[in-house]
Symmetry: C2
Subunit: 442 residues, 2 copies
């Protein structure tokens, strides 16, 4: 393998030091990785990315693209002794408030983007749990979702155009700078959620939204999940489309500092001046015990803060054990069945269970864990039964975290061999030498 | 060719009569078609669609899928002596207001779907000009857009799942019933806008939205387009995201019964009770002469009615000539340049020009026409210059009507040979025998 090329072309932007490089091998998925890699390289522009792909093809060496490695499915892990490509240095952003777009490098962080956008009364609505560190490139690779998914959709709905380098070393300019674009097949959305396996994103044109004038929110406690879900549906049936409708089960609520009851965080974007009327409407519709109310955009966002501690609450509960965070979605009508079923399956296999997620789009994140010394056997049985339950409820085992390494078997079962074979052929078309993030999805 | 199979399997759902069949050869694009086809077949379920594809492969005979043939780019035209597959009979729909989805056959009409949905306080937001007759299958094939594109996006944002039959006769179940779905590559969106060239859609799972509580709208006249565009941008910068922002130039305004001035139809969805405050805000922000105001959802929709007459206005103006309706989009900041440039190019080549479109997403529909006896030479020169102008303004020559037959050359120039070659390989992957709507896009 020709390492000298990397040394010559990238200088101190190519890190070979084993200790430093080892920091770039893992992601947030708790998957243990032991093998070493060639190193980490930090390209600064598209031309360098093209050179890297050509080098990888010549040297039959895999490239592992990386944003901030917040993946929970192992999408960002270097599984073989290849080269990690970090996009940290490709973090330029151009905001055009008139066109309503931002043109961003893959290394731009979503939170930083939103701080800039706020000056123009705009925001980028995709809001994954990892929003403080997640990057544009990573969010595209993962097809990120989050708390505003029910109303604002996910990453696929907010990427207008892409520049990508395929596994053949071709540079493709896809999509448009305009909101509407119908020039041939929609390759932009084929790349969104492809987990870095079809091409490396070097630039993204993102659609922006005006920040709503105002918002209201309530925090309500429930004895049973059925009523909680019914209330969210009732609000929507009354021509109110919640901005967020987040759920924590009783033990999780306690972990993030709330009462030990099922909690619903329900937020609605409204016109200035309409806050009180909407709160009145929510009070009439909601049967849970309303513990907090908020009027105004900032206040509504603040009310949601305990929900953002979900991940830390789960880590705390696992107490050094290996945390496994699942990511299912079921049709909203099936949410109570899913909660009941998950509790039963966890009890059956004697594994701990914490539940939280997004009611508005049926997306739950069941969390469980095991001690290293006891091994994952019980948790694996739980996951198998969970997948069966999800299939029975017409849901999906991968709502927003992607397939990565952890969900390969489950995705295979859900998709079926025929669909999977078309996906494999697509992979071959864009990356015939299998150098782009190999070992993921399939 | 084995016609007996069609006769035996489809009985009176296979029409061979040349006169009746000739009704299914054309679409709304004014492209003249003279050759005859084998006939029209009306499958009733997915199994019959699979049989048709297998028959087509065996007999090397193209299939031309058809909804209501409202395409303006020639996407729905039978260009060779093949078989038209009409989805008229596959028009079942199941609405689930709790899950917020509709599962619809390809033959369901968008307008009929919306009539059903209104009973549940829901609607399907994609609103193309042809909404009264456009079908779900056709809207998917075309990736339809329309008047709510700036806020609600286009068809790609509202299709959650698909069942399709590929050109190899495989049935694929793609996507999910849930709003979030990340099980492998996003093939759903690869099919949306693929113009029937990759597979035949047999069922679609659509995302639904609650009808906004209320709305306000104004009709304002402007002396210059610059101020009109600036006003729309200003409204958005004040944290108001218009539901629609439609534009007609002076001659078009006159054609649909308004004053002969540049007209802006600006609608905003609001909370009940906030109508008057929003109208006041619009009055303050807008510098045009406000000729009409509306408060309430129905009133706002009614104010927009003259805009919906655009197509008929254009037909009237063409007086039996061959009407050519283009479909460009430019970044919003470039709209005034686009309007000025189009007028200059039309004057240069001495062709008539009517302008209307969607300011909120930069999508204009320049319309021109020619007499059959004089031929299209001047109009072709106009289109060539229009495409150059659009490229210079960083726009697209196909915003929402698709490539079809009319835009093949322009799309080739816009996409470039490399991207196009990947698209051709995709076509080969899904339809290796080139039996699905051949002669379109490429």
């Amino acid at each position: 393998m020709d390492i000298s090329f990397l040394r010559r072309e990238f200088g101190d932007r190519f890190i070979e030091d084993k200790v430093v490089a080892s920091l770039y091998i893992r992601d947030a998925s708790f998957i243990e990785v032991s093998q070493s890699i060639i190193g980490v390289v930090f390209p600064e522009d598209e031309e360098e990315v093209v050179e890297l792909v050509r080098w990888a093809v010549r040297n039959k060496t895999p490239l592992f693209p990386q944003g901030c490695a917040t993946s929970l499915s192992g999408n960002a892990i270097a599984t073989t002794p290849g080269l990690v490509v970090s996009f940290e240095r490709m973090a330029k952003v151009e905001i055009d408030p008139i066109d309503g777009v931002a043109v961003a490098g893959p290394g731009v962080k979503l939170e930083e983007l939103n701080i800039e956008l706020a000056r123009h009364g705009l925001f980028f609505p995709v809001d994954p749990g990892s929003v403080k560190s997640a990057t544009v490139g990573g969010a595209i690779a993962n097809g990120a979702g989050g708390m505003r998914g029910a109303k604002y959709g996910t990453m696929k709905d907010w990427v207008l155009g892409l520049r990508v380098v395929t596994g053949r070393g071709d540079t493709l300019k896809l999509g448009c700078r305009t909101y509407k674009c119908r020039n041939g097949y929609d390759l932009v959305r084929l790349f969104v959620g492809s987990e870095g396996t079809l091409g490396l994103v070097t630039e993204a044109t993102l659609k922006l939204a005006p920040i709503p004038e105002s918002a209201t929110a309530v925090l309500a406690y429930y004895n049973d999940v059925e009523t909680l879900v019914e209330d969210v549906v009732k609000v929507r049936a009354n021509r109110v489309w919640p901005l967020f409708a987040e759920f924590l089960d009783a033990p999780t609520s306690a972990l993030v500092g709330l009462e030990e009851k099922n909690a619903l965080f329900l937020g609605v974007d409204v016109n200035t001046g309409a806050e009180e009327r909407l709160l009145k409407k929510l009070r009439e519709l909601i049967r849970g015990e309303i513990a907090q109310e908020a009027a105004g955009w900032e206040a509504a966002m603040k009310l949601l803060e305990p929900r953002r501690k979900l991940f830390y609450g789960q880590i705390t509960a696992a107490r050094g054990g290996v945390l496994v965070i699942e990511d299912i979605a079921v049709p909203i009508s099936k949410l109570p069945d899913a909660v009941r079923g998950l509790k039963a399956v966890a009890a059956k296999h004697g594994v701990p269970l914490l539940l939280g997620g997004h009611v508005g789009d049926g997306n739950l994140h069941p969390a469980t864990w095991y001690r290293r010394e006891e091994g994952p056997a019980k948790v694996e049985k739980f996951i198998k039964d969970m997948a069966e339950l999800v299939a029975k409820l017409n849901g999906t085992i991968s709502a927003e975290h992607g397939v990565g390494i952890l969900k390969k078997e489950l995705a295979r079962a859900e998709l079926g061999e025929t669909t999977l074979s078309y996906m494999r052929e697509l992979k071959k078309l864009f990356d015939p030498y299998n150098i782009l993030n190999p070992g993921k999805i399939f």
